[in-house]
């Protein structure tokens, strides 16, 4: 058995070694973020959940958390409630603090450099979202906090078997086995995982823990494990594709040219405008900047998640609101994700994780909406040469 040579592509690692590697990282003081299965019924909030009293399967929440031990690392297929976004654009963060001394104002900036950290077993839709959002974060202004965290983080994806019927990553240009936005990809195989390092950061991780990996036999995944991985990955892609298939380019063009179409203009009627979809979305990146005073003459400027689904998002100081009802606000959500962003940055602002659909108890269903738009777009293409 040869240990890993990081100049080559694919390695094999057992689950024990992966946990040992995690333990080594933690032991060295590196922050490791990974899916963790939270036993809802073990927390004090169990009192809130009748599900905890039910016989049978107990509810488990999967969340990305900073690991306290390697044993916490969850290598299952569950989708974390919130996406990985929260570790790059936190729900709230300080931008600066101020204190007023008479007419002078003292300002303290926040650090924009971050200690190296590793994300393990990220969902491919979540890492891909980071790569998509990188573009706007470096468009007319380079966001130091976002970039600082991106640079400090090595992300290892875990190939996803596709969670349920609301997953549609393949329809929006990514895949359940994509390493986009990540530095390496793990694929479950007999006895462990195949690991492909796709960036220098990913290769550095393999190199630093070379003893944990073995070089995979057969170049290009031609070995037995490689074939097994390829089959599983193809099957997962097919499952995602069965949920939704659209032509993202014609959807983009149709939305761009059908602003007033009844299909787009009346989308928000059942929507409550709560913006939970934006909170759970891995690509929604809009934030508000607020000054929060600590008494008189001092305080902190923070940014926090915002949503285009709230009336205040576009409310002018004059009182005028250009998006003054939920219909234009919901259209904006679709328009921004599937037309405005791809026209500006060449990529759809959606990675098909389906969280928005699952979280919406009013029944707004992005799969259904995209299907309807796709049909309208194809119909148009069929009539015009």
């Amino acid at each position: 058995m040869t240990s890993a040579d990081p100049t080559r592509g694919t390695y094999f690692i057992t689950e024990d070694d992966l946990r040992a590697l995690t333990g080594e990282l933690l032991g060295a003081g590196t922050e490791v973020i990974a899916p963790v299965a939270l036993d809802v019924c073990a927390s004090p909030s169990a009192i809130a959940s009748s599900a905890c009293l039910r016989p049978g399967v107990k509810p488990i929440d999967i969340e990305y958390r900073a690991l306290e031990s390697a044993a916490q690392l969850n290598l299952g297929s569950g989708l974390p409630v919130l996406s990985l976004k929260q570790y790059f654009l936190p729900e709230y963060e300080a931008l600066c603090c101020w204190r007023q001394h008479g007419t002078e104002i003292e300002i303290e900036a926040v650090p924009t450099e971050f200690a190296p950290r590793v994300v393990l077993a990220a969902k491919p839709c979540d890492s891909a979202a980071l790569a998509v959002v990188d573009k706007v974060m470096n468009w007319d202004y380079a966001d130091e906090l976002w970039n600082g965290r991106r640079e400090a983080t090595t992300i290892v994806n875990l190939a996803c078997p596709v969670v349920d019927e609301s997953c549609f990553c393949t329809a929006v240009g990514t895949a359940p086995d994509d390493a986009k936005g990540a530095d390496a990809l793990l694929t479950p195989v007999e006895g462990g995982f195949l690991m492909e390092a796709t960036t220098d950061k990913g290769r550095a991780l393999v190199e630093a823990h070379a003893a944990r990996f073995t070089a995979e036999e057969g170049a290009g995944g031609a070995g037995a494990r490689g074939r097994q991985a390829a089959e599983e990955r193809a099957a997962a892609r097919a499952r995602a594709a069965a949920n939704l298939e659209i032509d993202a380019a014609s959807v983009r063009d149709w939305i761009d040219t059908h602003f007033e179409d009844p299909l787009l203009a009346a989308l928000g009627v059942r929507c409550n405008g709560c913006g939970a979809c934006s909170s759970v979305c891995p690509t929604c990146h809009c934030f508000d900047i607020v000054d929060e005073e600590e008494g008189i003459g001092k305080g902190t400027r923070r940014r926090c998640w915002d949503t285009c689904q709230a009336p205040t998002f576009t409310l002018h100081a004059s009182g005028h609101n250009p998006r003054d009802s939920q219909n234009p606000r919901y259209r904006q959500r679709i328009n921004h994700k599937f037309a405005i962003y791809p026209l500006k940055f060449g990529e759809v602002l959606c990675t098909g994780c389906g969280r928005c659909t699952r979280v919406c108890h009013a029944g707004q269903d992005l799969v259904e909406i995209l299907q309807a738009i796709d049909i309208a777009a194809r119909r148009r293409e069929a009539v015009s040469p």
Binding site: V110, G297, K298, T300
Partner: protein, 159 residues
């Protein structure tokens, strides 16, 4: 709370705990009663900062939450006795609002001894002194409201 005395209180753990108490009082009864306590030269604890409002009916429960957020260890809400309201019924409305607020805060886990509600008329300078002394005494027993301060945002820094 940005003056130097506050800062000293914040920093000096070895100094005996002096509660910070914010009092929201109505202009017509309790404020005048507190004034009377002063002009009568009654001795009382000096830990209370008074915020004068037109009526207890003007006191939003958010004022109390804000006081805790900004570092108060206790609050006092005080106004005219029933039937004495300058605006006829402001205190009756306030009474219902604060009854519900009081019970809810207790359910959330806020010690009711940190919140004093009282009726103090313009002629009750001595009662005001007693209310203040009692509030300061019970908050002193409870200690600083660190549990509320622990809710402060992460990354906050004093400059």
């Amino acid at each position: 709370m940005n003056d130097e005395s506050d800062r000293r209180q914040d920093g000096a753990a070895d100094v005996a705990f002096e509660p910070r108490i914010t009092a929201f009082v109505c202009n017509w009864c309790t404020y005048t009663g507190a004034d009377l306590a002063g002009t009568s030269r009654l001795h009382m604890a000096s830990n209370v900062r008074i915020i004068r409002l037109p009526c207890t009916g003007r006191i939003d429960p958010l004022f109390i939450i804000k006081a805790f957020e900004r570092g108060a260890d206790g609050v006092i809400v005080s106004g005219c006795h029933p039937a004495d309201c300058h605006y006829t019924s402001g205190n009756y409305h306030a009474r219902r609002r604060f009854a519900v607020f009081h019970d809810l805060m207790e359910f959330i886990g806020v010690d009711p001894r940190r919140m004093t509600f009282s009726w103090v008329s313009a002629s009750e300078g001595a009662k005001w002194r007693d209310v203040v002394d009692e509030a300061v005494r019970s908050v002193r027993e409870l200690g600083p409201y660190d549990a509320y301060r622990a809710l402060a945002p992460v990354g906050d820094r004093e400059i």
